[in-house]
């Protein structure tokens, strides 16, 4: 029954005297959508950065898919299928939408020490890139420079790039940040069918989204996991209520 794809074991990260992660321990079951919530400054983004490898951890361990990845750099973790998206849109701004997705696909096709053939005419990159753009609803925007895309479209593109790498697990850092109501709904419709295929760890402020999507919720307070459970359990948990109301 229990088949954790990601295990976080007493992870710590200090910035000076402040412990952003303070013995953080939780695990994510394969195929689930697992939400990470908590008040501002609880250490959610720090945790994501530690899991993706962008921040090194002071102590503790991270196991992903049966391997200890604690000391692995970002790119190595990404290649084994642990992908992240960013809270603030992070794209390749001088490329077109299709170029951006093609770069994600290219990273999946082995090394890029190929110096001669024109990559923009390579159908093994371009065709799948177009398919993924279509899937996230960006058909017709393939040749647009990404800077000319609307904010919501850039978020969709961000998701397209992450999906293009065929990840086994996604770390989604506020995928709906800055989105309007309808864009938010659209993004949810994109994420929902991926459940089962791709495990997702979702950081999100919008509780409606969390309770609509997540199978499991972990509440983070002061760098520690305060509670983990189903959305209903979390809703009913008195500790969680206190933490959110501020008289913790």
């Amino acid at each position: 029954m229990a088949d954790p794809i990601l295990e976080v074991i007493s992870l710590t990260k200090c910035f000076g005297a402040i412990a952003a992660s303070d013995g953080l321990t939780f695990s994510v079951e394969r195929g689930t959508i697992h939400a990470l919530i908590g008040p501002n400054g609880a250490g959610k983004s720090t945790a994501i950065a530690q899991l993706s490898g962008e921040l090194s951890s002071d102590t503790g361990r991270v196991r992903f898919d049966g391997q200890d990845v604690t000391r692995w750099p970002v790119d190595k973790r990404a290649r084994t299928g642990l992908q992240r998206s960013y809270q603030i849109t992070s794209l390749l701004p001088e490329f077109t939408a299709e170029d951006n997705v093609a770069m994600a696909i290219q990273s999946q096709q082995g090394h890029s020490f190929r110096f001669w053939e024109d990559a923009r005419r390579d159908q093994s990159l371009r065709v799948p890139a177009q398919k993924i753009l279509e899937r996230v609803g960006l058909k017709g925007f393939a040749d647009r420079p990404v800077t000319s895309l609307a904010h919501g479209q850039q978020r969709q593109l961000e998701l397209a790039m992450v999906l293009a790498t065929a990840p086994t697990m996604l770390l989604l850092d506020e995928p709906m940040a800055g989105m309007g109501q309808s864009e938010s709904l659209q993004m949810m419709e994109l994420l929902r069918p991926l459940r089962g295929d791709i495990t997702m760890l979702l950081v999100e402020h919008d509780m409606d989204v969390v309770f609509a999507l997540a199978d499991v919720v972990t509440v983070l307070v002061k760098g520690q996991a305060l509670a983990t459970g189903t959305p209903d359990e979390i809703r009913a948990n008195p500790d969680v209520r206190r933490a959110y109301l501020g008289d913790y």
Binding site: V74, D75, R79, S90, M103, A104, Q108, E117, S148, T165
Partner: protein
């Protein structure tokens, strides 16, 4: 957002509007026209010099081609890879020294100093030039391996420091002329070619430059080139996509160093002299100015930058010793108002596919 024409920054001024209009017809056709005009000019230059009865012109033009080659090599990592190497003079100078040292020993009939075994000098271009590229490439591998672990200002400073180290190293080796440098008594030997003939030398440089432009053009459009450009735009994202960016940047750095080494080998033949001055940081700065003036991220722009800087130097230094006084403001204007350099001014919006 969309900038129209070559002067997006000062669109409000009436005259400039006119200039924009005049220049911005069919950008793609214009790219082609500019490149073809430039190519024809380079091909026909020796005939032009003969017509004008000015043989010195071919000599200056050869110098331009050699510096164009270094500028292209720097543009590859600066314009496409976003690596601001402030030590490119080191690779250029080392390539020149390889030719200088080999010729020196060949002339004196001695063996190469500081190396185990008895290696003799040679004047054969087919040994000298590839060796210059390899030695410069090895230096680039060492410098790059260390400096690419940093970024931003630190990267600039470390590349600068390495170049200055090499500069002082060459000053302190009296065997190879120390501060005075080495005179080269024989130019490289190429079968069937006489490099002493200034036209032959010019065309040799031109062929090598065009070859290098072609190779670099393919390179920047390839998968490798796309990764390189991705690193310039957003390195964090490239890592998150799974690219080990360090390896790609280091490879580009080495390729760039090798091309600079080849340019150095040509320069040694051209001036028949090598000295530590080739490695001085002011030389590295000059190469960087060429790239910025011509337009970062367009290979043809680097050629244009080298040509315009050296021609400016030629013309202005005839007027006054302090010709740099004029260069400064020109550079400021280009940086402020022509985002893609002189090449961007010429071809307008199509500047990206240079």
């Amino acid at each position: 957002m969309e900038a129209k024409g070559p002067f997006p920054g000062i669109r409000g001024i009436g005259q400039m509007m006119f200039l924009n209009k005049l220049l911005s017809v069919n950008p793609n056709g214009r790219t082609k026209a500019v490149v073809i005009t430039g190519l024809l000019l380079l091909l026909l230059l020796p005939f032009l010099a003969a017509l004008l009865d000015d043989p010195f012109l071919v000599d200056i033009a050869s110098r331009i081609l050699i510096y164009a080659l270094v500028a292209v090599s720097l543009d590859l990592i600066l314009g496409y890879g976003g690596m601001v190497s402030f030590g490119h003079g080191a690779f250029f100078g080392l390539g020149a020294y390889v030719v200088g040292i080999l010729t020196h020993h060949s002339y004196e009939g001695t063996t190469i100093a500081f190396l185990p075994g008895d290696w003799e000098g040679t004047t054969q271009a087919f040994i000298q030039w590839p060796l210059a590229m390899i030695v410069s490439g090895i230096l680039a591998l060492m410098v790059g391996a260390l400096s690419l672990r940093t970024s931003g200002v630190y990267f600039i400073m470390i590349t600068l420091a390495f170049a200055q180290m090499l500069y002082f190293l060459m000053i302190s080796i009296p065997t190879y002329g120390g501060e005075d440098g080495l005179n080269i008594w024989e130019r490289s030997e190429v079968p069937f070619l006489d490099l002493y003939d200034s036209q032959t030398f010019y065309y040799t440089c031109l062929v090598l430059l065009l070859l290098c432009l072609w190779v670099c053009k393919r390179l920047v459009k390839s998968r490798f080139g796309m990764v390189l450009q991705g690193c310039r735009q957003n390195e964090t994202r490239m890592k998150a996509l799974g690219y080990p960016v360090y390896r790609y940047k280091l490879t580009a750095f080495v390729i760039s160093g090798m091309i600079a080494g080849l340019a150095g080998a040509l320069s040694a033949n051209h001036t028949e002299f090598v000295g530590p001055g080739l490695m001085h940081w002011t030389r590295s700065g000059e190469i960087m100015v060429m790239v910025i003036l011509g337009g970062m991220g367009s290979l043809f722009g680097a050629v244009l930058g080298a040509a315009s800087l050296l021609m400016m130097e030629e013309v202005l230094s005839g007027l006054t010793e302090h010709w740099m006084i004029f260069l400064g403001p020109i550079l400021v204007v280009v940086v402020l108002f022509a985002r893609k350099g002189l090449y961007g001014l010429l071809v307008g919006k199509g500047a990206d596919n240079g």
